[in-house]
């Protein structure tokens, strides 16, 4: 059995009166990219937020690298080694790009080597270092959000729809950058509706619907199996194929 970095077992999450996650079972192997697919409203973002402790699951267990993290406060989960790139990017608009990066280095100092690597991955980070992050374009904000997540080495990065609302050229650049990120030790759990991007990055894949995982396997298997894609088509891939 592969080394499992993150495991969700029977996770239920309620938001107010709504029962959103209805028993999510998900395994993310250490290393590489795991993709989470699913149509709008399937519960992908809620799954990431539950992992991050931004929603507290009402039942089930979440294990990360040998410890149980569900019920722990978000800062503790972050410090256990999980970084989060939320769907709305969560950048601090009022702060400069540099200040956003400074805060993201929770240890207090940025490793200069990592920083220059990031500036190579995402040149706008260097160009706009002293500009308020709120003045960046959508794609640049997304780059900043990912940069914040990788300024310190993390075991796992949760990325929620990095292609959302971006022009194709920017999506290609982002895909390239994530592919380079994949070469490092980091494990990525990627929520993505853009199947091209998902296919080119993903090693394993899980498909969600109605708050449950309805398919899990390797990306190669899904990419090769048109019948399977067809069966899941209605669930997630219709718009982007």
């Amino acid at each position: 059995m592969a080394d499992i970095l993150l495991r969700l077992a029977g996770v239920h999450t309620h938001i107010g009166p709504y029962h959103i996650l209805q028993g999510v079972d998900l395994e993310v192997p250490r290393g590489g990219v795991s993709v989470l697919l699913g149509r709008n409203g399937a519960g992908k973002s809620t799954t990431l937020r539950s992992i991050m402790g931004l929603w507290t699951p009402s039942a089930g267990e979440i294990h990360f690298d040998g410890t149980r993290i569900d019920g722990q406060p978000t800062p503790a989960i972050s410090r256990a080694g999980i970084a989060y790139v939320p769907e709305n990017m969560g950048i601090f608009a009022d702060l400069t790009v540099g200040e956003n990066m400074t805060l993201a280095a929770a240890s207090g100092t940025m490793d200069p080597q990592r920083l220059s690597w990031i500036k190579e991955l995402f040149p706008p980070i260097a160009t706009f270092w002293d500009r308020p992050a709120g003045t960046l374009s959508g794609g640049q904000k997304q780059m900043l959000s990912v940069s914040r997540a990788i300024i310190e080495p993390r075991k796992l990065i949760l990325i929620d729809e990095p292609s959302k609302g971006l022009a194709p050229a920017i999506i290609r650049a982002m895909t390239d950058a994530l592919r380079q990120l994949k070469e490092t030790e980091t494990t990525i759990l990627l929520v993505e509706q853009n199947f091209q991007m998902a296919k080119s990055l993903g090693d394993t894949v899980a498909v969600m619907d109605d708050g449950r995982i309805v398919h899990a396997g390797t990306m190669a298997e899904l990419a090769a199996d048109n019948g399977l894609q067809e069966r899941l088509m209605g669930l997630s891939l219709e718009v982007h194929q």
Binding site: Y84, G90, F92, P123, Q140, A169, R172, A177
Partner: protein, 342 residues
């Protein structure tokens, strides 16, 4: 990676946009100008303007903590006025102990006594702020109605405790000699204490801006005001940050209480809750959570109150409420709306 794809693109702010964001900065000078036209006499205007700035800056000191507390954790603290009153009583007590220094003609001894009184009151109100947050505010995070009820309860308890400790009567205390009297500028007489209050207020504003812009804690506070969840997701405990801000805000309210008490030369247990009307007006005008907005709002309220007290005393208090309504019609979220991510 295709560098063409993400070549940086700079979009300069248009002149109209710049004017829009700078507009609030012009309000205080514009109001001062209008005041000069309405009052006519330059010397009177100067006296009133300095009085207005002094009052505004003292209100700013009291309001600054409240606005950041709201911005950071969405907590409405109706008990904030308690720290103003307690601060004033502690400060006056210390000044009374140091009567030898406060009555001395030596400027340094006077100022040292005031400084020690301020230090003591800030330490006490900061400490009470710590307990207030832990015991009263923490259990009601996220529930506005409960916050209002519980913090008002805290205010009443504090006022009663002041009665128990210092007695039910107002306490009078004259300012030290070096803070009494006026200096003469041409034909205008300007009270020394008002200049002192303006100086203290400006120094604090500059210091606060420095902390919020150039220190890690300050950046975290600003980040937290915008998006507290993300601050937590980066690994910081926002509750701790909030406790720190709450304590600092309480200490500043205590400082404001001493300043205000010395201005009036009389303090009562209710002085805090009385001044809170203006404090809330200032916080709302500025935009909940914004220090800059709070600063400008305080100057506007101070200037307008003093001009109107001279021009039309009967409508002086109403005029500040009218100012608030006017600002909100122009900018419904206040002068500097704080962008909240959600």
């Amino acid at each position: 990676m295709s560098s063409t794809a993400i070549r940086p693109k700079l979009v300069a702010a248009s002149p109209a946009e710049r004017l829009k964001s700078a507009a609030p900065l012009l309000l205080a000078p514009v109001l001062a100008g209008l005041g000069l036209v309405a009052i006519g006499d330059g010397a009177t205007w100067l006296t009133l303007t300095v009085a207005g700035l002094a009052m505004g800056l003292m209100i700013f000191i009291m309001a600054s903590g409240l606005t950041v507390v709201f911005g950071l954790m969405d907590v409405i603290n109706f008990g904030h006025g308690a720290f103003v009153s307690v601060g004033a009583f502690v400060g006056f007590t210390v000044l009374a102990w140091l009567a030898g220094w406060t009555q001395s003609p030596a400027v340094m001894l006077n100022l040292l006594a005031v400084f020690l009184a301020i230090l003591a009151s800030m330490a006490v109100t900061g400490g009470i702020g710590l307990m207030f947050e832990r015991v009263i505010v923490a259990p009601v995070y996220g529930h506005h109605l409960k916050q209002i009820l519980v913090t008002m309860g805290g205010l009443i308890v504090a006022q009663q405790l002041i009665h128990v400790i210092w007695g039910p009567d107002a306490i009078h205390l004259s300012r030290p000699p070096s803070l009494q009297g006026a200096v003469i500028f041409g034909e205008a007489a300007i009270e020394k204490y008002r200049l002192f209050a303006v100086a203290v207020g400006l120094v604090l504003f500059v210091a606060m801006r420095h902390v919020l812009r150039s220190t890690r804690v300050g950046l975290l506070v600003r980040a937290g005001v915008e998006n507290g969840e993300m601050v937590e997701a980066l690994g910081y405990r926002i509750r701790r940050l909030f406790l720190l801000v709450f304590m600092a805000g309480s200490a500043l309210a205590g400082l404001g209480g001493v300043m205000w008490g010395l201005y009036q030369e009389t303090i009562t247990a209710h002085m805090g809750s009385e001044i809170m009307v203006l404090v809330f007006v200032v916080v709302i005008i500025g935009g909940l959570g914004s220090i800059e907005g709070c600063f400008i709002g305080a100057l506007l309220v101070g200037l307008l109150s003093n001009y109107m007290a001279f021009l039309a005393p009967k409508v002086a208090l109403v005029s500040t409420i009218a100012l608030m309504v006017g600002v909100l019609m122009w900018r419904p979220q206040g002068l500097y709306p704080v962008v909240k991510a959600k």
